[in-house]
Symmetry: C2
Subunit: 417 residues, 2 copies
């Protein structure tokens, strides 16, 4: 299979227009959580030229943001069809008595402006939990967003969903299905409150590949499990997590309606985009100075590999050690040891690796001598790989995270003001 990286994010697929603007959901003076994005976009819209098959996965947090409830309701009502997505940052519209009413209103504004059914609008919000969402700025913004929709304004949208993110996250690929060139791309936001459970943060995927909504949902659920759900920044599962995907069929391949070779290609394309977005999210974790990528091989089953790899990237102690560039591998073993899975700890090998080299720190569950100097050099890199071999099977999985730094504490000690 051949996947070619392309520019364009959510506008990489044919027939998707986007726009973004600053509407002032938070007052500029209060918007000091990241001086670099002051006055930047806080709301976006994207729209397909034709009706799409759609699928989504949502947070498993019992506290669900109002936009989650409204999107779910809309997709049920429309039979998993969607045309437009509206998303804002800086206010999560969660734990508000009037939250659903406001989220409905956002869909209504888009529907009226674009003359489409309200239930074909997906809505998403991210930001502070528990503050009333001001609807007036959105009422003013929607006509502006609609008028400025354009096939190459993916960046306007990708920056509008940023909160404490320091970089925008977009990725897209081109691939071939049955002679037709297809495109699949996406954008993501998220920096803190990231410990996905069935879904994570806000992620928006678009494709021009023709595929049934049933298979779209199946592929999304499968790939979420091995990408976003293998990511943790801080162990906190957000109330507003959602991944949505829209397929408009404008690549004019024969619609994928059954599992088989074409479905596998589509799934692989989805993996390419979602795993790259996952990596970007990890690398831009709140306060992060290093990306941590943990590969667990030799597991008896996939779930064990996922559980072990995630346990390591979730360990606060290990994350702090990586910030300090300290090869404290005992903390890796400790985190493997409390992972909720069945395996023999006495067979486990651990290597630490980066572009500066690799070193084996643990063999058969016990420490081995290694050069602290070499280890310190390896850990001075920006991207650290922790390779765990359980040596008791053939399955593997990757999990992504970041180090725990002073800046994480700083950012989160005073997020609201």
């Amino acid at each position: 299979m051949n996947f070619k990286y392309i520019e364009g994010g959510i506008c990489a697929a044919k027939g998707f227009k986007a726009s973004g603007t600053y509407c002032g959901i938070k007052k500029p003076a209060m918007d000091n959580q990241n001086p670099d994005i002051k006055h930047k976009n806080d709301i976006c819209l994207y729209v397909s030229d034709v009706v799409c098959n759609a699928a989504a996965v949502y947070t498993q947090n019992k506290v669900k943001g109002a936009p989650i409830l409204v999107t779910k309701k809309n997709l049920e009502k429309s039979g998993n069809k969607a045309i437009a997505v509206i998303a804002n940052s800086k206010n999560a519209n969660t734990c508000n008595a009037d939250g659903e009413q406001k989220a409905d209103r956002m869909c209504q504004l888009v529907a009226e402006e674009l003359n489409i059914p309200q239930e074909q609008v997906i809505v998403a919000s991210t930001g502070v939990i528990g503050q009333v969402l001001p609807i007036e700025p959105i009422e003013k913004a929607v006509p502006i967003l609609a008028k400025s929709l354009c096939y190459n304004k993916n960046l306007e949208a990708a920056t509008a969903i940023m909160t404490t993110d320091t970089v925008k996250k977009e990725y897209a690929v081109a691939f071939e299905i049955g002679g037709a060139i297809c495109h699949l791309g996406g954008m993501a936001k998220g920096s803190g409150m990231i410990h996905p459970n069935m879904a994570t943060t806000l992620n928006f995927i678009t494709t021009d590949c023709a595929i049934s909504s049933e298979l779209l949902q199946k592929a999304l659920s499968e790939i979420v499990k091995v990408t976003y759900n293998c990511l943790s920044i801080d162990g906190d599962t957000s109330t507003n997590d959602m991944v949505s995907i829209m397929a408009n069929g404008l690549a004019f391949n024969e619609e994928i309606t059954a599992e088989g070779e074409e479905y596998e290609i589509f799934k692989q394309a989805l993996y390419e985009v979602m795993s790259n977005l996952t990596r970007m999210l990890a690398k831009d974790g709140e306060g992060a100075s290093k990306l941590l990528e943990c590969l667990c091989t030799g597991a008896q089953d996939k779930d064990t590999a996922i559980t072990v790899a995630k346990s390591v990237v979730c360990s606060s102690l290990f994350k702090a050690a990586m910030f300090g560039e300290d090869a404290n591998w005992g903390r890796v073993l400790c985190a493997i040891g409390y992972a909720d899975a069945e395996f023999d700890i006495n067979k486990v090998d651990v290597d630490l690796r980066s572009d500066k080299g690799a070193v084996t720190v643990c063999k058969d569950g016990s420490g081995v001598e290694f050069s602290e100097e070499k280890a310190a050099e390896i850990l001075s890199a920006d991207e650290i790989y922790i390779d765990i071999n359980l040596n008791q099977g053939e399955e593997s999985a990757t999990a992504w995270g970041c180090d725990l730094t002073y800046d994480y504490v700083k950012i989160n000690g005073d997020y609201r003001t």
Copy 2:
């Protein structure tokens, strides 16, 4: 029931002698993780005048420190009898190929010196994982420890088990059972890698109450569940967690051999000591500036109350907000929402409280207006109480934790050197 706080820690009960010394397990020059405890004790011994009934609970981490394995083996072999406990800090003797051999040797040294059966010795180690334990310093220390045993040297022992702890942790109570005055006391260590699962950190309890080893084990397991297991500093379950308890019967009450009123009094005494030690552990969490105590009431069952209360004190985001004295109650709701328990989130009320007042921040799962000024004043205190009422039952539980600070990152960025 009447419990009187008394001095004496593990020597509060009749017939328990203790001692502690510095043997140099880590070289003084390397011992820079806490300048205040440089050259302080790193090994201790305590001994009962007569054979004790004993019980213990151990970490559920698959990686188990060698001392855990040896203590378990010893108590099985001795039929839950014990006379002496030896414990060292600064080296966990975990993930070492020769770990069990060294832990056995520590017991042997004590047994020979005191002329007691080797299987009646409990051994514990805490400190860095995966560094070979030097046995020579311990061979030299044991005769010194044995010679300096004394009925009031509990402090020498309590300081010997400290790692990144900044204060020693001791607590003891006197109480009456069947006309006999009993004493129960303990010491604890632990500051990081604290997220107990069946046991936590190193905790040593002694009592002169006469009670069968079966009921001792039962009481310990029950009280651990609502004290140490409701504590989290950083989400990392240690490899060397252990709580041991020894009862020598020197209070000469009629031995408690069945559940009933006397057993309940004993259990309550154990709760008094263990809950106070738990609180001390939370307050001295690595880098902590504030104690967090979360009380969950109105739960349908005890496990739900425990799960919800723990979820809140485990949230990195909420912990960072408390450090910043920011009343970001949305993070409390978020953490309640991802707790792995069944309940209706729309009935939940949340109050924030300290010795400076209280404020309701959430009612029926939605935010309510409150004075940010008042909230900031409340959160400026050293001990913060989060009161959650699920409003759907009669059960309650408390969990303890601390805030997430720059110092946590600093301490753990470079723990080994």
